[in-house]
Symmetry: C2
Subunit: 170 residues, 2 copies
DNA sequence: ATCAGTTGCTTCGAATCCGAAGCATTTGAC
DNA sequence: GTCAAATGCTTCGGATTCGAAGCAACTGAT
């Protein structure tokens, strides 16, 4: 029974659709450029960029997955792929025996450098071209707030593993 | 020709990352809700919603694919899936022998109605909660401009087939 | 120390996705 | 009319994705 009429007005719908469409279109174009320039998928680029941004060039798997909004298993797959191509190395974390530290290689940095200018060019052409400086600032502010809110609002059934015990007092 | 890395300033980077992260996080949560509420993927929901929005309840495949930012083959797959579940029907277009018209069924509308309130709830909780009314208006305006720009800016290296203008009458 | 619970990552199976190739129809040029 | 190119969609093959289950290591309490 749909007893609750949609409390979304036209403006909200517009913002929602525009958000989804814009990010989809942008992602598609970026993906194409990355594929052409360095044979990288978007996730792979994100991973390399995240690693390259780190002072040590390394991160733990979980941190990577969280940063990129990705599943653990998907990250394992991509990390393996990147390792096979020699763009990253994987090693046991020093303090935690079961932790895996991923580190970008020189080769990885090279690919990153290869791809980056084109990446930026796509962003300039598609995203920033029709926007003023003030628009970009405003956009960054609003979306950052939304993102932060989502980050700290736990999905109803994701994130932590289901607790089997203590079900009664959950 | 990669001699001039166009620099992105902090604000631009912030806007870009926030856009990607926010849309990713939102999409993930929405996907979960749709899966739980009606066993629909996000694309499937988008398709049903698009069809439901049409006065006739029908659209041609290509128009659907464009609207949802999806590959043709992916759309074929999803249309088949939805047809198997009885949520849409597919039939030959009247004026074009090779065109396929997809139409939402009563069952499809029912599922849509079933899922919609929860969908809206997620949007309210995650996207709109931390934003003011003015924020939403601004966001809609800016992103709509960006989206429109992307829509009419063809991918530079895409050897995609040229597509003509679609008929306005529906 | 030991046990149960938690966490980090991987493996597994299945679903989904895309691009390229293919088929059928339409369009445009001649 | 006929042919070549363009268009609409599907099929095919392969890559990517996720959740669930599994294994190993850490933690805290006893």
């Amino acid at each position: 029974m749909t007893s609750t009429p949609p409390p979304l007005d036209a403006t909200q719908l517009g913002a929602y659709f525009a958000l989804i469409e814009a990010s989809s279109l942008l992602k598609h174009s970026v993906e194409q450029q990355l594929r052409d320039a360095g044979d990288l998928s978007y996730v792979q680029f994100q991973l390399l960029a995240t690693l390259g941004d780190s002072p040590t060039g390394s991160r733990r798997m979980t941190d990577l997955a969280d940063g990129v909004v990705y599943s653990r298993s998907g990250l394992t797959y991509q990390a393996q792929t990147l390792e096979k191509r020699g763009l990253v190395t994987r090693s046991q974390s020093s303090d935690d025996e079961r932790g895996v530290t991923v580190t970008i290689t020189e080769e990885g940095r090279a690919v990153l450098a290869e791809v980056f200018p084109g990446h930026v060019a796509v962003l300039d052409d598609l995203l920033f071209a029709p926007l003023t400086r003030a628009d970009v600032e405003t956009l960054a502010d609003i979306l950052a707030r939304a993102r932060d809110h989502m980050r700290q609002t736990p999905p109803r059934s994701a994130g932590a593993r289901r607790r089997k015990k203590a079900a009664a007092a959950d």
